[in-house]
């Protein structure tokens, strides 16, 4: 069996001197090219887990290896360089509202260009061509110079995807990418992510709210409850009992068609 691409070992995140435990001893592995879905109730630690992987949040304890490199040991500068290969998309899109779509997408190349160039907004021609290509790929080429906050939710998330694509990432972290969208748009956005996973070979870690979406798009599922890992396996393996374990006794499944 090949070396796993992402290894998380005993990841723990505590706040307030131990009173608040966000993640408790989480360990799992991800192979290259997998589409891993993280499910769980709100507040179970999904967002914290994703942010620990690219060290936007510092883990209190534990180790994370990406492609053989122990990133928990990297200095801030080295980590910044490493982040270029990790793309991230967010629940609330996190775009620069007043800037154009083009500028937003170009910010994906911030890590690849020297500071003086980016401060003046002088991205090289190759970056701009790549931006147009990625915009065409997500179907937003005509909106290239429209202000980002004039787009709909689904379109904004596609801009986020284009931004992540600009990084030419090996790993994509998606923090509840479709929670703020209606069901039809959710599928459309998830399909773009799936396309990234299948055609570009990007390893995807996505946290999702709806189990049906997780079953449909994920190749593997892990579940968090109160910061602990309670399930790690294939989507088919989640039966009613396991479902109630993850979500609690009163939960019922909702279909997102």
């Amino acid at each position: 069996m090949a070396e796993p691409y992402l290894v998380v070992e005993h990841l723990t995140k505590v706040y307030e001197r131990g009173h608040v435990v966000a993640l408790k001893d989480v360990s799992f592995e991800v192979q290259k090219g997998e589409f891993l879905v993280i499910i769980g109730l709100s507040g179970s630690g999904k967002s914290t887990l994703l942010r620990c992987i690219n060290r936007l949040i510092e883990p209190t304890k534990g180790r994370i290896f990406i492609d053989g490199v122990e990133i928990t040991k990297l200095s801030p500068r080295q980590m910044r360089k490493f982040r270029r290969k990790i793309g991230m998309i967010f629940q609330h899109f996190n775009l620069i509202k007043r800037a154009t779509v083009m500028t937003n997408v170009l910010t994906g190349r911030l890590g690849y260009n020297p500071t003086w160039r980016t401060l003046l907004g002088l991205f090289p021609r190759s970056d701009r061509e790549l931006a147009l290509k990625n915009l065409e790929r997500v179907g937003l080429l005509e909106k290239a110079y429209v202000r980002a906050d004039e787009l709909s939710g689904g379109q904004q998330q596609r801009v986020g995807i284009a931004r992540a694509l600009m990084q030419q990432p090996e790993l994509l972290l998606a923090d509840e990418p479709v929670s703020a969208l209606d069901p039809a748009t959710s599928h459309s956005v998830m399909q773009y992510i799936e396309q990234m996973n299948r055609e570009d070979g990007v390893t995807v870690l996505a946290s999702l709210h709806f189990l049906s979406l997780a079953r449909r798009y994920g190749t593997r599922i892990i579940a968090l409850k109160d910061g602990e890992l309670v399930f790690d396996g294939l989507p088919e393996e989640i039966d009613d009992r396991k479902f109630k374990e993850i979500y609690g006794e009163e939960a019922e499944e909702v279909e997102v068609r």
């Binding site: 154009t100 083009m102 021609r125 701009r128 061509e129 147009l132 290239a144 110079y145």
Partner: protein, 382 residues
């Protein structure tokens, strides 16, 4: 072929072009003023009436200036993308599709702004403003770096500050026959602000309902009252507290705390009235609808639908005003309003800098404390 736009849009566009022309005309008028000012100052120097130096012109001057600037404005409008048009964003239409090059660059094959007409005009106006400002206001870095001898004396004596008369009155300083220490006068000053704020808020609150469009706008008489009240608010707000203080000081007596209180109150009523009435106008009409539908009278609508929505911001504005009033009351004595400013002025005139320092530090401490408190309270309310 140009598309036919509906008549209303055409009229709107014409009006906007007129406004753009007006703006260009004003910009050229400003340039003309600048030219006249510098000419007057450096060349024509009319000796007696330096006061009028900017606006004295030969008899043919005024019409020439007006027509000349208008002509320049028209020339600008016709020959390029003038400043007025840019300000109103009157776009030039483009019909052909974007080329790949333009798509890459992100600019519709335009010139950089410093080569367009509006860009040059904007830079010119900016430079003129800087030059004019520097000159009119008589900026002199020399004077800043080399203070006057009196200032030097002040700086050397102001540290350490002398708190001798903080609780014990200074026998040399007496207001209306009564000795005051710094503490006493400061307490008096705070009381001035307190009275002004309480009185001002109490009067402004009912008045604000009379100045709110959604309460008054149901009959011609209502509109009249609204207009009068709003006009009153605006006029009385435009005159700063200090100016009111001078008026009241001459009215009552120079140095009377009542003059200060009246000045603060008048300005508070106007300022709070405006803030309150804007709040009342900005409420959610839903609850109002609900109360009216349930059969409530006008007073009941106010009591159950309007008041609950505006009370938190009423408190916030009143606290904000209290903070401002405390600051104002510390200095209002300088124009005859009574309060701790009297002590400030007295020590400054006597040249007793150490005692002055003590007064200033007390004022700073009190104002800072009030500012902090009012800020924290306002955080809690909103």
């Amino acid at each position: 072929m140009a598309r036919m736009l509906p008549a209303k849009v055409e009229r709107g566009r014409f009006r906007r072009r007129l406004i753009a022309l007006f703006l260009d005309w004003m910009s050229w008028g400003y340039v003309a003023y600048g030219v006249m000012y510098f000419l007057n100052d450096y060349w024509w120097r009319i000796p007696l009436e330096r006061f009028y130096s900017t606006l004295t012109l030969p008899p043919w001057g005024w019409p020439a200036a007006v027509l000349g600037t208008l002509a320049m404005a028209v020339v600008c409008e016709l020959t390029g993308y003038s400043l007025g048009e840019r300000a109103l964003k009157l776009e030039r239409k483009r019909e052909r599709p974007l080329t790949k090059e333009e798509l890459l660059r992100g600019r519709a094959a335009g010139k950089p702004f410093w080569r367009t007409q509006w860009g040059i005009m904007a830079v010119l106006l900016l430079a003129l403003t800087v030059a004019l400002g520097w000159h009119i206001v008589k900026i002199d870095p020399e004077a800043l770096i080399h203070p006057s001898p009196r200032a030097r004396e002040m700086l050397s004596e102001i540290f350490p500050p002398d708190f001798r008369h903080f609780r014990v009155p200074d026998p040399a300083f007496e207001l209306r026959g009564l000795p005051y220490s710094i503490l006493d006068l400061m307490v008096l000053t705070i009381f001035m602000a307190l009275l002004a704020t309480v009185l001002g808020a109490a009067v402004a609150l009912p008045l604000s309902f009379l100045g709110a469009r959604n309460i008054m706008g149901f009959s011609p008489a209502g509109w009249l009252v609204y207009g009068v009240v709003r006009g009153f608010f605006n006029i009385f707000r435009s005159i700063e507290t200090m100016l009111w203080a001078v008026v009241f000081a001459i009215w009552i007596r120079w140095g009377s705390p009542l003059a200060g209180i009246m000045a603060l109150t008048v300005h508070t009523i106007a300022a709070l009235g405006k803030l309150y009435s804007e709040q009342v106008e900005g409420i959610d009409p839903g609850p109002v609808e609900a109360v009216v539908a349930a059969g409530g009278s006008r007073a009941e609508v106010i009591r159950y639908a309007v008041l609950p929505q505006v009370i938190p911001s009423f408190w916030a504005f009143t606290l904000y005003r209290w903070d401002i009033n405390v600051r104002m009351s510390t200095v209002i004595a300088l124009v005859g309003g009574g309060g701790i400013g009297d002590m400030l002025f007295y020590y400054k005139n006597e040249g007793k800098w150490a005692l002055l320092g003590a007064v200033v530090i007390t004022i700073v401490a009190v104002v800072w404390a009030m500012d902090y408190l009012s800020g924290r309270l306002r955080e809690r309310i909103t």
